[in-house]
């Protein structure tokens, strides 16, 4: 799917080598051999590589690959085997694939998923199995309320990112806004978090629209939005949905008439190719911005440029930073990643300067504490980029998750 490299996901060779039958039976011996801390570190990547969110699975994977390439395919001195599985954005498929990763491939750590609904479905099983698990995409606010000792979230929560946008909008002259979101857990989560601070700051949400997941044609909604007196739209979409919404927003003459604001996934380096000029001027909040002027980010962008012509987006950065977290924690336990409990504790002690800025984990909820950036899409050197216009430093987890 992505560029070939020496450590390309070897799902197929693994299965072909071990043989389907061996994967199913008599694997106790195999497990013993592998438990000695000398073989490869097996990392299971469960993400969405098909349908509307395929883009994000692939960009997450690219971040992982960039990190490995930079470090010679090794973590804590051990070779790395990435086993990649596609959850098809479907929780039932995800559970099947997860069981395969954990019970058959016996991965040492699971990275993923993208969908909050998938993370929700995974939670019970992961808690039971105890395999270290780092979330690279799913932002459902309530996930870090669950107190799963082996789960860390190295990315945003919906609340963390949507909340500052509401504050910013109400402080910057937006009086009335529409909220439109994809009709699933994350969409409702984000809508609520935006509304909370936006209305606290004196704004008013005049209409909330929840469009069915994977809506192709937004014409009915954008026509409806145009007929309201609101000065702004706050949207939550991901992947190709984000591409289509922003394009149709322009085609129906809304651009220039009202401010376009969105969750990070709606106006991100990942989605610009689908949106083109329609995205210019759009505002969003995120935990990352590709044009951040820090040495860490410049280095990351440089490394990334070897693999892709595009600038990295948040998921690429998440993949990259998550691998850094895994690497650091593995080194802290002397490479013995098989000791899941010690490895999890080491993850919790993360305190790094990532491309996105400082990252550490909330000791109680295991949510990453990080900066949130308010960004504007601008055209620069013939391409679209996000520019930081305001920084909210060290935003933690939703206080409601801590009680």
């Amino acid at each position: 799917m992505t560029d070939a490299s020496s450590f390309k996901p070897s799902r197929r060779s693994l299965i072909a080598g071990a043989g389907a039958a061996a994967a199913l039976t008599f694997d106790a011996q195999l497990a013993r051999v592998l438990a000695q801390g000398t073989g490869p570190i097996r990392i299971g990547v469960l993400n969405t590589f098909t349908k509307m969110a395929a883009l994000f699975g692939e960009t997450t994977m690219r971040g992982i690959e960039v990190y490995l390439e930079e470090h010679g395919g090794k973590i804590a001195g051990r070779p790395v085997e990435i086993i990649k599985e596609d959850d098809e954005f479907n929780p039932q498929v995800a559970l099947q694939k997860l069981r395969k990763l954990v019970e058959s491939d016996k991965v040492h750590v699971v990275l993923g998923p993208l969908g909050s609904h998938i993370a929700t479905a995974m939670a019970g099983y992961m808690k039971q199995m105890g395999t270290p698990w780092i979330i690279t995409g799913a932002g459902a606010t309530a996930l870090t309320k669950e107190r799963i000792p082996n789960m860390y979230r190295a990315t945003l929560t919906n609340w963390q990112v949507a909340n500052p946008m509401g504050t910013w909008a109400s402080a910057n002259g937006v009086k009335e806004s529409i909220v439109i979101a994809s009709d699933f857990l994350a969409g409702h989560d984000v809508a609520e978090a935006f509304k909370e601070t936006f209305e606290k700051g004196g704004g008013k949400v005049v209409k909330e629209i929840f469009s069915p997941v994977n809506t192709n044609d937004f014409s009915a909604y954008v026509s409806d939005i145009r007929a309201t007196p609101a000065q702004a739209v706050y949207g939550f979409f991901t992947g190709s949905e984000a591409g289509r919404f922003v394009k149709q927003f322009q085609q129906f003459g809304l651009k220039g008439k009202m401010k376009l604001m969105g969750f990070q996934s709606m106006l991100d380096a990942d989605t610009f190719p689908l949106q083109g000029a329609a995205a210019v001027g759009g505002l969003s909040t995120s935990i990352y911005c590709e044009t951040l002027d820090t040495p860490e980010n410049k280095h990351f962008v440089e490394m990334h440029a070897k693999k892709s012509k595009e600038l990295p987006g948040i998921f690429t950065e998440s993949g990259y930073t998550t691998m850094r977290i895994v690497d650091d924690a593995a080194q802290a336990v002397g490479g013995k990643i098989e000791d899941a409990a010690a490895f999890c504790i080491a993850i919790g002690k993360t305190n790094i300067m990532a491309p996105r800025g400082p990252v550490s984990f909330d000791p109680l909820t295991h949510q990453a504490i990080q900066n949130v950036y308010v960004r504007e899409v601008v055209e620069q050197d013939g391409r679209l980029v996000n520019k930081v216009i305001s920084v909210v430093p060290n935003v933690g987890d939703n206080p409601l998750n801590k009680v």
């Binding site: 799917m1 590589f49 098909t50 349908k51 509307m52 395929a54 883009l55 629209i209 929840f210 469009s211 069915p212 994977n214 192709n216 044609d217 014409s219 009915a220 909604y221 026509s223 409806d224 145009r226 007929a227 992947g239 190709s240 591409g243 289509r244 149709q248 085609q251 129906f252 003459g253 689908l274």
Partner: protein, 285 residues
């Protein structure tokens, strides 16, 4: 522009798209008694071929012109080599066969083009919005409406005014009699199946800039097309036309005014029509 007018236009545009898909589905059903479960696949195949043509040539119009051809060729082969040997069997076997083909086509598409979502760019001349009645409407969508109406007109002329059309009508009414009076029914079926597939493929290209091009779009368009032919009546061109407009409108206004129950109500309506008038509003039953 008045919200009502713009929503009406949106509904008509969606209806036009549905018509391109449903007309073929309906005529195939009318003639062969077979619900073609691979009809959505023809739409999807057309969209992907159109994507490749548009990318290679840079021309949307060429994509529109060329994409239906390979789709028609595949449908022709499918009809002659697979469906025809089953004419004498239960209709159900043919339905199941088309179901099997929908898997094959999905695999075909995924191995050639992958599982990502793509989009065909609209022709540059139709990229902008037209300003009229004090509002904006995307030019491309108006063009889609035009394509739908043009297709309806051409189909109507063929079915109503030509000898071939007369044969189709005779076949829909009573295929046994049609065969009795010396019509070459197999040829008629093959032609209709192939043309219906080409039309679905064309719809796939036309919908490309709006709906996107991805594996899975086949089922997503097939179910609304089913609803259209249930409402309009299976086997009737007029039914497909009216049904497309009704469903296009209902979907658009439902999304805008009854967002919580629109989808639900659509299926309730489908069930009620099936129970009260299994032949649909314009069906032959």
């Amino acid at each position: 522009m008045d919200l009502f007018i713009s929503q009406t236009l949106n509904g008509l545009v969606y209806g036009a798209l549905l018509f391109l898909l449903a007309s073929g589905l309906s005529l195939i059903f009318g003639l062969m008694g077979v619900v073609n479960l691979a009809h959505g696949s023809f739409f999807m195949l057309g969209a992907f071929v159109g994507l490749s043509v548009a990318k290679a040539t840079g021309s949307f119009w060429l994509a529109m012109l060329l994409a239906p051809l390979p789709v028609a060729a595949i449908a022709l082969a499918m009809e002659v080599f697979f469906l025809r040997p089953l004419y004498k069997r239960e209709k159900l076997d043919q339905v199941l066969l088309t179901f099997g083909f929908s898997f094959v086509f999905t695999d075909l598409v995924e191995s050639f083009w992958g599982k990502d979502t793509f989009s065909i760019s609209e022709p540059p001349s139709l990229e902008d919005s037209i300003e009229f009645l004090g509002g904006f409407f995307p030019s491309y969508r108006l063009a889609m409406l035009g394509f739908g109406l043009l297709a309806a007109l051409i189909l109507w002329l063929i079915i109503d005014r030509t000898r071939a059309g007369a044969m189709v009508r005779a076949g829909v009414d009573d295929s046994a009699t049609a065969m009795g009076i010396g019509l070459n029914v197999p040829l008629l079926l093959t032609t209709t199946f192939t043309c219906g597939a080409a039309l679905a493929g064309l719809a796939g290209v036309i919908a490309g800039p709006i709906l996107g091009v991805y594996s899975g779009v086949d089922v997503e368009v097939l179910i609304p097309a089913f609803i259209v032919i249930v409402v309009g009546g299976m086997g009737s061109l007029k039914g497909a036309f009216v049904g497309s407009i009704v469903i296009g409108m209902a979907d658009t206004f439902g999304k805008a005014y009854l967002p919580e129950t629109a989808m639900f109500l659509t299926y309730v309506a489908m069930i009620l029509i099936l129970l009260a008038r299994p032949g649909g509003l314009f069906g032959k039953v």
